[in-house]
Amino acid sequence: MNKFINIAAGFLVASATTASAQELPKLTVYTYDSFVSDWGPGPAIKKAFEETCNCELNLIGAGDGAALLSRLQLEGKRTEADIALGLDTNLTARAASTGLFAEHNSELKNLNLPIDWSDDLFIPYDWGYFAFIYDNTKVKNPPKNFEELIMMPDDFKIVIQDPRSSTPGLGLLLWVKEAYPDRAAEIWEGLAPKILTVTAGWSEAYGMFTEGETDMVLSYTTSPAYHIIAENDETKSAANFDEGHYMQIEVAAKLSSSKNPELADKFLQFMTSDGFQSIIPTTNWMYPAVLPTNGLPTGFEKLISPSKSLLIPSNKAQDARSEALSEWLTVLSQ
């Protein structure tokens, strides 16, 4: 019986969506899957924006980072998306070269980023450092750098993301490249036997870690905050690497093909406002691009702060990516 109620409800929901779409303007945002999940920022941000915009905000999970960008390229000018949210500085040059994105025309003065920001197309909404997360009750002596990670016992396994599809995966690629410009291939050769699997997206990898399938997973220094704040669990830590940690700045931009450019601008303004930014720390588990008036939530003070932050400027990231990627593919396909 339950089934039929569900099916009926499904149709009702479907028809209700079409009905309201005719009344209110609809803003479609393509983003990554974890952003739209029930525990991600999606639901709260949809609610907050819809209260003010007199519109319907349609958040669609279209794959992580590069997959999101490819998706937009595949759809081209025909895309329904008004906004792409979830690219990072490693991809902005490639994204800009597609010509699919429009200028934002807003002044960005109040940003609290570790670097100066000037970009005509992309607006940052949060940032963080990539890091390997481990369970501190199981791993007593976490590696302090890539060399130590390579020297860990044979059964010590990590899960990483595919740099072709996922922004953390690409981040790790550039992290290794930036920390070891001349020895990156050698480091990857050492890491290869440690890699349990390479997943397409972040969610899959982190899920494997929380299920106990792997000892460490590539994520962010801010990931333990989730366990501390949401689960009251202090057993998850980020391994502090003394080579420094690569930084990620996540950005959004308006598509030039958008049929609702004003609404899209409104969303981008909302994105750097308190209403959006105060949701980020405890849903996307990243540092907000604009510090909310109430500051960071309790628990964030327990996170590690990297001794050195690494970042390849966005205009050089494209070349660094192709070189590092072919190195990575060659080493890992052996």
Partner: protein, 528 residues
């Protein structure tokens, strides 16, 4: 072999001809599109070569292991009489309609790092198993192909006259003698065909490598095509890989059509055959061992799907039910297209075959075309072809239905063409002499003889389409999905419980669809 004295009418040419044309566009047409788009000048990189090496080597290993296990299994199944033997044989026919992604989930539940086996061996301080990569891909392929290989070899045994065994017993020939004079020659004649079919199935594997591959080290060509389209927006690369995949499959397809014998689902398996040479306790023990092993290997993952899915199936989110609706729709449409194509092609072939005896060759050519142009090649070709004109994402479901229909066509044709030829031969002249024409001729004289094969192949086509996770992954917009895709997305976000519920729903719907169509074909025609 004149089936009908009627001249070939234009309408048969048009209907049958357009079915052939559609098939050619889908198979050869898409390959030409790939060829035109491929960056042939661009040499293959080292990682491309390792993808090709991996694709071939995993297929060879999978085929060898499946056959090595299937040989003793088939022997034990064929010669031992025990309760449940028929059940095992029946279930061995099922992997055909078992959705790949469901089997993968079951395999992870048993063999994964937190699966039953890893949990068990952790009691003895053994490290958990790691099935991601080569091992996992081979494991899944072996899982799918043991039943297939076993069925083929059992048919090989069944083709040996029972007198051979009686005579051997009379002459006092021992097991090694029987092995040498009866079993080995039989295996030599059936195994090349089985090897090629399994090899071909594993070469074009996508879902298994997607879910269990685990990175650049375990990427099949089809997965690489998917990655270059979905991640890199690189049509030329996808097309280049597509051409390589087509060439590989084409070579194998030709070999398969040449070497393999048509599968005959013989019903003679109930004849009791004694193997007087295998009464020794040692042999009995071995047979019990191998059957237990194979049954556990095959049924544990299926059982785990049931156990893990039975509770979550009652609390699945609405999106799952919408996807189920999409899947059923796609399956039914794809089944109708497939059967429609098969009947129109058969109609034409039967009519022209008194001038050109081409019946069996046609089946082979059609099989070859669809085997060589794997669903992914067709999908990629259509993708590149349609991209400039229409967003492929908006027509994801129709394209999936069309590709799935093409994939089921060889099976449908193999069932329907001979039945139609027989019906024309036996009743065609009578119908003509009674002055029956057009639809009533088809309805009264031909259709009753086609019902069963049509029902069976429609069920098969629907079930195959239901479980397909291939083309839809290329085209699916984020808010449209089929059931296998929803299941894969749930697995990717590690919602294993919900994924298990979907798995159970998916496998139940596949079986239900198959059953409904198959039963429909068996109903007596007074219920028409």
């Amino acid at each position: 072999m004149a089936y009908s004295t009627q001249p070939i009418k234009l309408k048969y040419l048009i209907i049958g001809g357009s079915a052939f044309a559609l098939l050619l566009i889908l198979t050869l047409g898409t390959v030409i599109v790939l060829w035109l788009n491929a960056d042939i000048k661009d040499a293959l990189s080292p990682s491309d070569w390792s993808i090709i090496r991996f694709t071939i080597s995993q297929a060879i290993i999978s085929a060898i292991i499946s056959i090595l296990i299937a040989i003793p299994t088939a022997r034990a199944l064929y010669f031992r009489n025990f309760k449940g033997r028929q059940v095992i044989l029946t279930i061995m026919g099922a992997p055909f309609i078992l959705p790949t992604i469901v089997a993968i989930l079951g395999i992870i539940a048993v063999w994964g790092r937190s699966g039953y086996i890893s949990e068990f061996i952790s009691n003895f301080n053994i490290n958990p198993l790691n099935i991601y990569g080569f091992t996992g891909v081979v494991l899944a392929h072996v899982f799918f192909n043991i039943p297939l290989a076993t069925r083929f070899i059992v048919q090989g045994w069944a083709a040996i006259p029972i007198e051979h065994f009686r005579l051997s017993a009379q002459l006092g020939i021992n097991s090694s003698g029987i092995s040498q004079h009866i079993e080995q020659p039989m295996l030599k004649s059936v195994i090349p065909g089985i090897f090629l079919i399994i090899f071909l199935l594993c070469i074009s594997s996508f879902a298994v490598a997607l879910a269990l591959g685990g990175g650049p080290k375990a990427t099949t060509i089809e997965l690489a095509i998917y990655q270059s389209l979905r991640f890199d927006f690189n049509f030329a690369k996808a097309a280049q890989l597509g051409i390589i995949q087509f060439s590989l499959c084409a070579i194998l397809g030709i070999m398969t059509v040449m070497f393999s014998k048509p599968v005959q689902f013989s019903s003679g398996l109930d004849i009791k055959i004694e193997r007087w040479d295998r009464t020794h306790f040692r042999y009995l023990l071995f047979d019990i061992f191998i059957l237990t092993f194979v049954c556990l290997f095959l049924f544990l993952p299926l059982l785990s799907i049931f156990i893990r899915g039975i509770i979550p199936i009652f609390s699945l989110p609405n999106t799952v039910w919408i996807a189920a609706f999409n899947s059923i729709l796609v399956a039914i449409v794809s089944s109708i297209i497939s059967i429609g194509m098969a009947i129109s092609m058969s109609g034409l072939i039967v009519r022209v075959s008194h001038k050109f005896p081409i019946t069996s060759q046609t089946i082979e050519i059609v099989s070859f075309l669809t085997l060589a142009a794997s669903p992914f090649i067709i999908g990629t070709g259509l993708f590149i072809l349609l991209f400039p004109y229409i967003s492929p994402f908006t027509i994801a479901l129709p394209i999936t239905a069309l590709v799935n229909a093409a994939m089921a066509l060889p099976f449908a044709l193999r069932m329907i063409l001979p039945a139609m030829a027989r019906a024309e031969k036996n009743y065609g002249k009578l119908a003509d002499s009674l002055g029956m024409t057009k639809f009533s001729r088809f309805r009264i004289a031909i259709w009753p003889r086609l019902r069963r094969p049509v029902g069976f192949s429609a069920g098969l086509a629907a079930a195959l389409s239901m479980g397909d996770l291939g083309v839809i992954t290329l085209f699916a917009p984020a808010d449209v999905a089929t059931l296998p895709l929803v299941m894969y997305r749930l697995m990717s976000s590690y919602q294993i419980s919900a994924a298990s519920g979907v798995a159970l729903l998916l496998v139940s719907l596949s079986i239900l669809l198959f059953w409904v169509f198959d039963r429909g074909g068996q109903l007596e025609h007074n219920i028409r």
